[in-house]
């Protein structure tokens, strides 16, 4: 199975299970959770199901394209189910059969792993899912997002696409993974990994990024005052990514870290509250379609 077939099969599976098939957000994000269709939609009472593949950038994970297992940008497949259905674990296991993995022939385990995103004011309880000893997914019941307690609770399933594809193909180097019949993952991405690792670790202009962080932050604040919480959230994401670049670049000491994270969180929480108010004012439209 090629990398793109894996993503297609997951997309089809979740499409059959009533998920809105979304496209990735067109800004840098560290995880699929930051997509507005997860971050905002898990708030409030409206039901929601979505699935999408989310390219996720984590500057500190970059290895110049030289590590067989680690990349700065990977492809998460993200599913959000709200409210979490009672048979969500069975549903998840069934989704694995979309790419030929049957629980009967493997050792699949749900191992405690609670998730927390201090930048989003979000936290959840759940597991990492292990397939024959390999972590293939993160499975989380969201308890909190944007600093707000969530009710109903959403289940978030995050599949590590590269790992699963490598595991299925028995391939030991991510760059050897067949993307389709003609190209490998390396053909498409190796140069990008090398350049962005250099950018994140060596070349990024520190002063510029420090200034950008501040500008993005104040722009988010200004937009929030005008009730434009969606554009404000874009600036929140930009802050978050800028912080990640600064962090990779070695410009953030451990003492300063909580300060930056807190600044991003404050914007995220304000956006979350604004979103909830706006949905409430609209009478929670998706509730009526139930």
């Amino acid at each position: 199975m090629t990398f793109q077939e894996l993503i297609l099969s997951l997309t089809q599976f979740w499409s059959r299970h009533d998920a809105v098939i979304q496209q990735p957000y067109d800004l840098e994000v560290g995880a699929g959770t930051m997509h507005p269709d997860t971050f905002f939609r898990v708030l409030g009472p409206e039901p929601w199901r979505a699935a999408y593949c989310s390219p996720s950038r984590r500057p500190v994970d970059g290895r110049y394209g030289e590590n067989p297992f680690r990349v700065y940008r990977h492809y998460q497949f993200q599913v959000i189910l709200k409210p979490s259905p009672p048979d969500v674990q069975d549903l998840y296991l069934e989704s694995l059969s979309a790419f030929g993995v049957s629980a009967a022939e493997h050792d699949i385990r749900f191992e405690e792993d609670n998730w927390e995103s201090p930048t989003l004011g979000a936290a959840g309880v759940g597991w990492q899912v292990m397939l024959d000893g390999m972590e293939i997914s993160q499975f989380t019941y969201f308890q909190q997002a944007g600093g707000l307690e969530l009710s109903p609770v959403s289940a978030e399933l995050t599949y590590g696409s590269e790992r699963i594809a490598m595991f299925l193909a028995g391939i030991e180097n991510v760059f050897d993974l067949p993307w389709n019949a003609a190209c490998t993952y390396g053909d498409l991405r190796k140069e990008e990994e090398a350049q962005f690792s250099r950018f994140n670790f060596e070349a990024a202009d520190l002063d510029l990024h420090l200034r950008l962080f501040t500008h993005y932050e104040s722009e988010a604040g200004r937009l929030l005052e005008q009730g434009l919480y969606l554009p404000a959230y874009d600036f929140c994401l930009r802050c978050s990514h800028t912080f990640n670049v600064l962090d990779a670049r070695g410009a953030v000491s451990t003492t300063e870290r909580p300060g930056y994270i807190g600044r991003v969180r404050r914007i995220a929480c304000a956006c979350a509250e604004a979103h909830l108010k706006s949905r409430e004012a609209a009478g929670f439209p998706l509730l009526r379609r139930k």
């Binding site: 297992f69 629980a103 009967a104 000893g133 609770v153």
Partner: protein
């Protein structure tokens, strides 16, 4: 009423709960259910001997419950007789109200005498409820109150549990005990293992529970599951070759037991080229992410094998598939470790010191770079203090180890495997050609905190001194910030730090002054601008003394009174205090010692309110006085060198020789003589004796045979 033959069964089915939460949850359920049976007059619930729990089910089974509670007569006391009837003897409104509330006629009320005086009482028959009725009424509450460390909500509900509930089985014999909880109704349907698609299984009778689960491959019995794992490991070891053994990791076995329902041990291998990695790195790479058990060969060296505990079907093709997967993952892990090992060594520990600027120790106390600077100076001064007491420690090695000892926090390996901190520092230092004493000290700096069983004893004095300085720096820092442990709350592990500090001194027999060390630590913080937030730091000394007390009693098994006696005269040098406590314990029970203790109490009482200087010279009138002085001078002469050499047991034997002289003295001599000169001489003599005895301990603290222990005694309660 006879106990029923029927089994009671409760099984709470849930999504995989963390392994560490299973045992405490079962303990709660088992305790609450037996207590419920007793409280509700339902007989003795005798639980199955072994706990029943897996990641997906918490179960309690037992027998001995009565089918139903016995009927009984309930008596409810009402108003006092004076208030129940008016002067004419007619029922008052109060009495009528009471009768109504109890559903009985006024005429049927009885009279009882209570502490309040004579009262009316209503008696009525109460029908016993059936066991299922009683259980159904209480179970939801008992389950709701399971003390999980962390709970969650799911779906649209507000119920909290460790992980979402999936089913509830509750049977009394073959009868369902019906109750509702979190939108679920109890019944008789459980589920089989995940690898069979969690089939629904009907439990006809609670007595069949284990048989049914067994038939479907679920080993619910925790101890049996652990044994199965151990047997599987032994079998796989034998298959790998003669003499192969697994490394001993009891906690890993516990956690594996809590993670599977149907354990299958399967050995696997990895490329022998990875054996070039240091053994701690190899083991950690296997255990940390994979929970594989490392294998040693007949010579005790790392073998290119591991044993995995799987949860799966046992057919050969499934096992082969999983093993292939496991080996694939492990290869990636070992490659990672190999990459870290190679990459990390491209920069020396020395070169990494500035990077510690960016690693935070504590927000107010600063970075690890600052900690390293403080610990280096603190360790140096500790070396000097120890050397001053006649025990040379290689100061240059300790200082060097302090300088580069935290640099491994910046390595890729320690970032990936935090449990290798210190160990990696030691390995990298050795690779860089640092002296052996330095690398050993670095690798031992975090030792000494485990409980006595699994605790590693410090192998070198340099390692012990580094650990002592590091712990004192941590203790002083958190006490300056008033972050002092209270009750069971000790989030920074300060009790363990204090214990490790003392343990290091004891392991390597190092004499030092706690007070000097603390003051130096505080002054180093002051130089850095960290000022005390309150008076907490004054309590650090007594906090550490409590740990000495704890260690003497718990780890060394010394009785509290010997410990009190020794610590009463000072614990500034913990090793010295412990040696004195041991000596006092060693000599107790001997006649002369008991008599001497009694005499000492007498001396103490006599001297209590007196301003007395020790007798130095003067005229002693009586023979008994002169003989006592002679025996005192002899004791001083003979015990002096022993005390200086800290041979306290020897010194105590000499001091016991004071007994006959003292006995005769107290028999014949009136201490409080009206003649001031005589009195001064005698008091001075006693003062000098007491000073000598106090060099070992306060004998008055020793509880003699047949005496009651003083209330509040036993240092253990004080912490």
């Amino acid at each position: 009423m006879v106990a029923s033959e029927r089994y009671f069964l409760l099984e709470i089915g849930c999504e995989e709960i963390p392994d560490g939460m299973i045992a405490p949850a079962l303990e709660h359920l088992e305790g609450e259910l037996t207590a419920l049976a007793r409280r509700e007059r339902m007989g003795d619930l005798v639980l199955d001997p072994e706990s029943l729990g897996t990641p997906r089910r918490l179960a309690v089974r037992g027998r001995g419950l009565l089918d139903r509670q016995a009927d009984r007569e309930v008596e409810v006391t009402g108003p006092r007789v004076e208030a129940a009837y008016d002067q004419a003897g007619r029922p008052t409104r109060a009495l009528e109200g009471f009768a109504r509330s109890q559903g009985v006629a006024v005429e049927s009320l009885a009279r009882v005498v209570t502490v309040k005086g004579e009262c009316v009482a209503a008696r009525r028959a109460e029908k016993g409820r059936s066991a299922p009725q009683v259980l159904a009424a209480s179970l939801p509450d008992i389950i709701t109150r399971i003390p999980f460390g962390k709970t969650m909500r799911w779906g649209e509900g507000s119920f909290r549990f460790a992980r979402p509930l999936q089913w509830l089985v509750c049977l009394f014999g073959s009868e369902v005990v019906p109750f509702e909880l979190a939108g679920l109704s109890s019944g008789r349907r459980t589920r089989g293992p995940r690898f069979d698609r969690s089939p629904v299984l009907e439990i006809a009778d609670a007595k069949d529970y284990m048989k049914l689960l067994d038939a479907h491959g679920v080993v619910a019995d925790l101890p049996r599951r652990r044994r199965r794992i151990q047997e599987g490991i032994a079998r796989e070891c034998a298959r790998l070759g003669a003499g192969c053994t697994t490394e001993d990791h009891p906690e890993l076995l516990d956690s594996l037991t809590g993670m599977v329902e149907h354990p299958v041990a399967v050995a696997g291998s990895f490329d022998a080229s990875f054996l070039s990695l240091p053994p701690p790195v190899l083991s950690t790479a296997m255990i940390h992410h994979q929970r594989f058990i490392p294998v040693r060969n007949a010579q005790g060296a790392s073998a290119p094998h591991y044993i995995a505990i799987l949860n799966c079907r046992e057919d050969p093709s499934t096992l082969a598939t999983i093993r292939r997967g496991n080996e694939w993952v492990l290869r990636a892990r070992l490659r990672d470790a190999d990459f870290f090992w190679t990459e990390d060594r491209k920069r020396t520990l020395q070169a990494r010191i500035p990077d510690l600027d960016r690693v935070l120790f504590e927000a107010t106390l600063g970075s690890y770079r600052l900690k390293v600077e403080r610990v280096e100076r603190l360790a140096k001064s500790l070396c000097e203090g120890i050397a001053g007491r006649g025990q040379p420690v290689e100061s240059s090695s300790v200082v060097r180890a302090a300088q580069i000892g935290k640099s491994d926090l910046t390595t890729l390996m320690v970032k990936e495997f935090p449990e290798l901190q210190g160990i990696m520092g030691g390995l990298y230092a050795r690779q860089e050609g640092e002296p052996e004493a330095v690398s050993q000290a670095i690798s031992q700096q975090y030792w000494g905190t485990g409980d006595s069983g699994g605790r590693k004893r410090f192998l070198t004095s340099e390692g012990a001194v580094l650990a002592m300085a590091d712990r004192m720096d941590t203790l002083a820092g958190f006490f300056l910030l008033e972050r002092i442990p209270t009750g069971s709350r000790d989030p920074y592990g300060l009790r363990r730090s204090a214990l490790a500090l003392i343990q290091a001194a004891l392991d390597r027999s190092l004499h030092f002054s706690l007070q000097d060390l603390k003051q130096k630590a505080v002054s180093l913080y002051a130089e850095q601008g960290v000022q005390p937030r309150g008076t907490g730091v004054d309590r650090l000394t007594s906090f550490i003394e409590e740990r000495i007390r704890h260690l003497c009693q718990e780890a060394l098994g010394l009785p509290y009174d010997a410990v009190n006696a020794a610590l009463a005269v000072g614990a500034d040098d913990p090793l010295d205090a412990v040696r004195r406590a041991e000596a006092l314990q060693g000599i107790r029970g001997q006649d002369d010692f008991e008599a001497l203790s009694l005499s000492y109490r007498r001396i103490r009482n006599i001297l209590a309110d007196q301003e007395v200087s020790p007798f130095m010279s003067g005229r002693l009138l009586l023979k008994e006085e002169r003989l006592l002085l002679e025996s005192l001078e002899r004791a001083e002469r003979e015990s002096g060198p022993l005390l200086d050499a800290r041979d306290y047991q020897g010194a105590l034997r000499v001091l016991a020789g004071l007994r006959p002289g003292l006995d005769r003295f107290f028999d014949k001599v009136l201490v409080m003589d009206p003649d001031a000169d005589a009195r001064r001489g005698r008091l001075g003599l006693l003062k000098r004796i007491s000073l000598l005895l106090l060099r070992v301990g306060d004998f008055a603290e020793v509880v003699l045979e047949g005496e009651p222990a003083p209330s509040g005694a036993g240092g253990a309660n004080r912490a």
